[in-house]
Amino acid sequence: MATETLKQFHRLPQSTYIDALRFLPPLSAFDRYVVVAAFNSDTDESAIGIHALNPTDAPTLTLQSSFTTSSRISSLKVAQKSLQSPLIAASTFAGSLHILFPNPIDASFESEVSIPEKMLHLGPISSLDLQESGSACVSVGEDGRVNLISVSDSGLDYRRVFDSKGLVSYTAARWASPTEFATGGLGNSLQWWDQRRPGGPVSQFKGNWGEGASCGVVHSIDIHPSRKHTCLAGGSYGSVFAWDLRRPQQPIILSGIGSGETQTLSSSDVWEVQFDTFMTTSIISSERVLPVMMCSEDGILAVIKQGEEATEILAENCAINSFDIDRHNPADVICSLEWESIAILTRT
C-alpha cells in the first residue's frame, strides 16, 4: 500500500470526545471555521461548537460559540443556501434534531430550531442528511422510520415517508437529488427512495444478509453530485463498495474482506466514506468509481481508487471516528480521533 506524504499534519488534543466534525462553508473571505460536536465525559455535557481554524504552521482551534444539546450527537451535517449563510443540522442519540444558523460576522449562533425527542423516531436518530440547498433534511433510525424535515423561514415541518415498524433498521442516509435519497442498514443493505414514488424504496440492494460472518452494517453513504446513479457505502469488516443503480445486482467492491481480487485496507468498521474531490493527476474515466476517502476503527485514513493501489494517508493508534474534506480547499482534511483529539492535515 502506498503512503502519501503530507505537507502538514497536526494532532490537536482536546479535553472532550469528538463525536463528529465538519468544515463550515466560509462565512467570510478570510475566516475558516470548523463545526465540532463534542462530548465532555467529566460533566456529561454535549455541545456543538464553532471553532476558528487559524491556518498557520501550528494550527489552532479557537472556540467561537457553543450550543449545548441534551444528548450526544449522532450525526452532523452542514449546507449552504446559495450565497447565504450556512446552516448546521445535527441529530442526537436521544432522538432530537437541531438546525443551527451561525452568524456570518462573529460565528455565534444566531438562531436555532429543533424537533424534540420522540417526535421523529423511537430512540436515537442514527443518521441524517441535509440537502445541499439546506431546504430539507432526511432522518433515519433503527426503529425503521424515514422522516423528511423541511427547513423554511417559518420553522421546521416534518412528515413520515416510511415506517417499517422495526422490521428494517436504517443506519445511514444521503441525498442524491432534491427528490431522491439513499439509505443503508443492516446486512450491508442499501435502499433507494424517490419522493415522486412514495410507499417504499424504489430499488433495493440486499447485500449479503444472512451470509454469516462477513455480513455487516452500513455506517456511511456518499453520492457524488455528478454521478447520481452511484451510491458509495462503507461498513463493517472494512467493506467499502459502490452500488450502481444501473446494475443493481452487482456491487463494485473497493475494499474489504472476502472481496477476492480487491485489496483489504482494514478489517474493522469503516466509519465514514466520502468521494475525494482532491484530484492530483489523471481524469477518471466515467466507467470507474471516483476516488474515495475512508476512515476506520483501526485508525486508517486512506484514499481508494478503483483498479489502483490504495493510498494510506494516516495510520493512527486509535480509531478515526469521522473526517471531512474541505470543499473549498480539498487538500485539507480534518478528522476526529477516538483518543480525544482532532487531526488536521494538508495534502501535497
Binding site: K165, L167, W209, N317
Partner: protein, 721 residues
C-alpha cells in the same frame, strides 16, 4: 480483583487502601415512582463509575392501579465521582492524555518482548541483553515525553538582569519519579554519569520539594522577590546565601549571574573597588570553568566537559590548584569590603569541598548529596557506595517528613525492588507502577524473579501481572478509557483473558456503538464466544424493543439457533391465524429476514408451504368437501416428506390434521402414506431422548389422539386395499 485486596492492613498489601471507615454519605434517589415501593432493589455496576439501581414496585400494587398504566419499576444510573486516579494530575483530561499516550509505547514494547522471546527460542539462545535495553530506553523516553515537556519559555530579547530564575512550566512529581527510574534502570549506557545526571535532575525538580521541606529553589525565589528593592546587594546576607546555595548544588549559571550583580561592577565604583572587583570576577571565572565529568551541557549552563576520566582528573586537579592559589592570594588583604571577602572565601570553600560549608549552604539532604557529588566525590559509582553516601547525608541533614521522591531515591539506592514498588504504588498510583515494572525488570535478574514469580497469596499471579490487572481495572472504570484496558489485560498471562471477557460482558451492548466496539475487541483477541454473547444480548434487546429486524440480524450474526428457532416458532404460531393485511405484511417481512438457510428452522420455503397448508386446512374445516380434503392431505404428505420441515412441527402438523386422518367418508391416506406418518412418530419418540430436542406446546393427549387416528386410518386403508 476482589479477594486480592483484602487484608489491607498487613504489610503484604500491594495496593494502598485506607481502612479508615468514612462516615457513610446519604444521597436521595430520584426514581419518580409512586409509593408504596416494595423493598426490592437491584444494585449493580454499570459502565464506568456508574451504579445502576433498579427499583421495583411490588407486583400487587402494579396490578391494583386501574385506569392508568403504571410502570412496574425504574432503572436509575448514578455516577460516582471520587478522587482522581493520581492526585498529582488533577486535570482529568490531561490525565487521560497520559493514559492514551502510554498505550502505544507499552504495546510496542510487549510486541518486541514477545518477538525476541520467540526468536531466542528458535535459536536456542538467550535474548540479547543489549538489544533489549535499547528498546526499554526507547520506551522510557517515549513515556517520559508524555509526562510534560520542560520547554522553557522563549527568553526575552532584553534579558532582565534581575531575573535569576526562569518561570518554566510547573514540573510534576510523576515526571521526576519517572526520570529517576530512567536514570537508574533504563539508561544502562550512561551509568558512569549517574552523579551528573542526578545534578541535572535536581536542577529540574528542586522546586518540587518546596512545599514539604526547605529547598534552595524556594530560597532563591524568595531572594528574587526582594532583589528589586535592594540597593547594595553585597551588604545583604541573603545575597551571599543565595549564591552559596546555588553554587553548592551546581547551579553555576545562577551563581555567576548573581555574583555579577555585585556593587563593585558599577562604573562609578570601579575605580575605588578595583581589587575587590578583581576578586569577585576571579571567583566567577573559576565557577564558570568548573570541570564536569559529562558529554555535554545544555545551552546556557556553565562548566567544562570532559568525556575521559583521566582528562577530567587532570583538569579537576588543575582547577582545584587554581582555587587554592586564589585562596592564598595576597589580594584578599587589600579587599576592604569585609562581607565580600568573607563570603567569597566561603564560595572557595564550597568549591574545595568543605563538608561544613556545603552542609550550611544546602537545605535538605538530597541537595547535600548532590553537593558531595559535585565537589567531594565526583567519581562515586556503584549503587552501594552511593547508598552509603546518601545515608551519611541523611544523618547530616535529617528530615522529619521525607518527601515521596526522597523515599523513592532511598529505595533505588538501597537496591530494594520491593521498596521501589511500594513507593511507586503509594505515591504515584497504578498507572506508574504498571508502566514502571518494565524499567525495574530491565537487566536485573533479581527484580525479574521478584516481579514475575507466581504467588499463591496473589491468586497465582505475579506481582507484575497483579499491577497490570489493577491498572486495567482503573481504566475500565471510565467510559472513555475502558477500551484501552484490553491491551493491558491481554498482556496478563493468567487472568487477563478471563477478566477481559468479564469486562466485555459488563458493557451495555444495547447501545449500538458499544456493541460494535465490543465486537471489534473480540475480533482482535479471537474471543468468538464473547462476541457472540454480546450480539445475542443486543439481539434480544432489539427484539424486545420492537426493532425486530435488527434483533434477527444480531441473532443471526451470533449464530443463535435457539433464539432464532423461538422466533420462528412465534412466526409459525402466526400462520393459520386470521391474517389481516397489515400483520400479514409484518410477518411476511419477518420470513424474509429470517432467510432461507437450511440450518434455520424458519426456512422460508417451509414457512410458505406451512402457511398454504394451514389455509387449505381452514377451508376443509369450514365445510368438508372430500376432494379438497384429499388435496390438503397430499400437501400434508409433501410437507412431511420434505427434509426442510423441522422435526418439532411434525406432531403439530399431524395434530392439526386430525380431522383429515379420521375423515368420515373413508380413509384419505393409503397404507404407505400412513406408514410414513407412523414412522415419523417413531422417529420423534427417539428424538425425544436427545438433549437438543425442542418440546412443543400441545395438549397432553395430542400424541395419543394422533396415534389412535393413524392406527384407525391404517386399519381402514388396509381394509380398503
Amino acid at each position: 480483583m476482589p479477594g486480592l485486596l483484602t487484608g489491607s492492613g498487613d504489610s503484604s498489601a500491594l495496593v494502598p487502601f485506607s481502612p479508615e471507615a468514612n462516615t457513610p454519605a446519604v444521597y436521595p434517589l430520584h426514581h419518580g415512582l409512586k409509593p408504596p415501593i416494595a423493598p426490592r432493589l437491584s444494585i449493580s455496576w454499570s459502565s464506568g463509575n456508574s451504579i445502576r439501581v433498579s427499583v421495583f414496585r411490588s407486583p400487587e400494587t402494579t396490578k391494583t392501579t386501574d385506569g392508568e398504566a403504571e410502570v412496574g419499576g425504574k432503572v436509575v444510573e448514578l455516577k460516582v465521582s471520587g478522587e482522581d486516579v493520581v492526585s498529582e494530575v488533577n486535570d482529568a483530561a490531561r490525565w487521560r492524555r497520559i493514559v492514551y499516550g502510554s498505550v502505544s509505547p507499552f504495546a510496542h514494547l510487549q510486541n518486541k518482548k514477545n518477538a525476541m522471546a520467540a526468536l531466542s527460542e528458535l535459536r536456542h539462545s538467550a535474548p540479547s541483553e543489549v538489544e533489549w535495553s535499547k528498546y526499554v530506553l526507547e520506551y522510557s523516553k517515549e513515556i517520559n515525553s508524555l509526562l510534560g515537556n520542560r520547554k522553557s519559555s522563549p527568553s526575552p530579547l532584553i534579558e532582565d538582569p534581575k531575573t535569576v530564575l526562569k518561570n518554566d512550566e510547573e514540573p510534576s512529581c510523576l515526571k521526576a519519579a519517572w526520570e529517576l527510574l530512567e536514570i537508574f534502570y533504563a539508561n544502562k549506557q550512561s551509568h558512569s554519569w549517574i552523579p551528573e545526571q542526578l545534578v541535572d535532575w535536581l536542577t529540574d525538580y528542586d522546586s518540587l520539594f518546596t512545599g514539604q521541606v526547605p529547598a534552595v529553589h524556594s530560597r532563591l525565589v524568595e531572594f528574587q522577590t526582594k532583589l528589586i528593592n535592594i540597593q547594595t546587594v553585597e551588604n545583604e546576607a541573603a545575597y551571599w546565601q543565595a549564591i552559596s546555595s546555588a553554587l553548592s548544588i551546581g547551579w553555576l549559571d545562577i551563581s555567576v549571574k548573581l555574583l555579577r550583580l555585585h556593587g563593585s561592577y558599577q562604573l562609578n565604583q570601579l575605580g575605588s573597588r578595583e581589587t575587590e572587583n578583581g576578586l569577585v570576577e576571579a571567583v566567577a571565572v573559576l565557577i564558570s570553568k568548573m570541570p564536569r565529568m559529562r558529554v555535554d551541557l545544555p545551552d546556557g549552563k556553565l562548566g567544562e566537559c570532559y568525556y575521559n576520566k583521566s582528562d577530567f582528573m587532570k583538569a579537576w586537579e588543575k582547577w582545584r590548584a587554581q582555587i587554592t592559589k586564589l585562596d592564598c592570594s595576597a589580594y584578599w588583604l587589600q579587599c576592604s569590603h569585609n562581607q565580600t571577602k568573607e563570603n567569597l572565601k566561603n564560595l572557595l570553600q564550597i568549591m574545595l569541598g568543605n563538608t561544613t560549608t556545603l552542609t550550611n549552604a544546602t537545605c535538605h539532604w538530597l541537595e547535600l548529596y548532590i553537593a558531595h557529588f559535585l565537589y567531594i566525590r565526583p567519581f562515586t559509582s556503584g549503587l552501594e557506595s552511593m547508598h552509603v553516601l546518601a545515608q551519611k547525608c541523611m544523618q547530616l541533614k535529617p528530615t522529619s517528613s521525607p518527601h515521596k521522591l526522597m523515599n523513592l531515591i532511598v529505595g533505588i539506592l538501597g537496591e530494594n525492588t520491593e521498596v521501589v514498588l511500594a513507593e511507586c504504588s503509594k505515591s504515584f498510583g497504578p498507572w506508574m507502577i504498571a508502566h514502571a515494572t518494565e524499567l525495574l525488570t530491565a537487566g536485573s535478574i533479581q527484580a525479574e524473579i521478584l516481579l514475575k514469580e507466581q504467588r499463591d497469596n496473589l491468586g497465582g499471579v505475579s506481582i507484575e501481572e497483579s499491577h497490570r490487572l489493577v491498572y486495567a481495572q482503573v481504566l475500565s472504570s471510565h467510559a472513555l478509557t475502558w477500551q484501552i484496558a484490553p491491551i493491558y489485560l491481554i498482556s496478563c498471562m493468567k487472568h487477563g483473558v478471563g477478566l477481559l471477557e468479564i469486562l466485555l460482558y459488563k458493557q451495555p451492548v444495547y447501545h449500538s456503538q458499544i456493541l460494535l466496539k465490543n465486537i471489534e475487541i473480540c475480533r482482535l483477541y479471537d474471543l468468538d464466544s464473547a462476541s457472540a454473547n454480546a450480539m445475542k444480548i443486543a439481539g434480544v434487546h432489539d427484539w424486545k424493543h420492537g426493532r425486530k429486524g435488527s434483533g434477527i440480524f444480531w441473532l443471526q450474526q451470533a449464530g443463535d439457533e435457539l433464539r432464532l428457532n423461538r422466533i420462528a416458532q412465534t412466526l409459525f404460531d402466526f400462520v393459520g391465524k386470521s391474517i389481516s393485511d397489515e400483520s400479514f405484511e409484518q410477518w411476511e417481512g419477518l420470513i424474509e429476514l429470517m432467510g432461507s438457510e437450511s440450518r434455520t428452522a424458519g426456512g422460508l420455503e417451509f414457512l410458505h408451504k406451512y402457511r398454504d397448508f394451514k389455509k387449505s386446512l381452514q377451508q376443509v374445516e369450514g365445510g368438508g368437501v372430500t376432494d379438497a380434503a384429499r388435496k390438503t392431505c397430499e400437501s400434508l404428505i409433501l410437507i412431511m416428506k420434505n427434509p426442510s420441515t423441522p422435526q418439532r412441527f411434525w406432531l403439530p402438523l399431524m395434530y392439526d390434521s386430525l380431522k383429515l386422518l379420521t375423515w368420515r367418508e373413508g380413509p384419505l391416506l393409503n397404507v404407505s402414506q400412513t406408514n410414513l406418518l407412523l414412522n415419523k412418530l417413531q422417529e420423534l419418540s427417539v428424538a425425544k431422548l436427545r438433549p437438543d430436542f425442542i418440546k412443543v406446546e400441545l395438549p397432553a393427549h395430542a400424541l395419543n389422539s394422533v396415534m389412535l387416528a393413524l392406527a384407525t386410518n391404517l386399519g381402514r386403508a388396509i381394509l380398503e386395499e
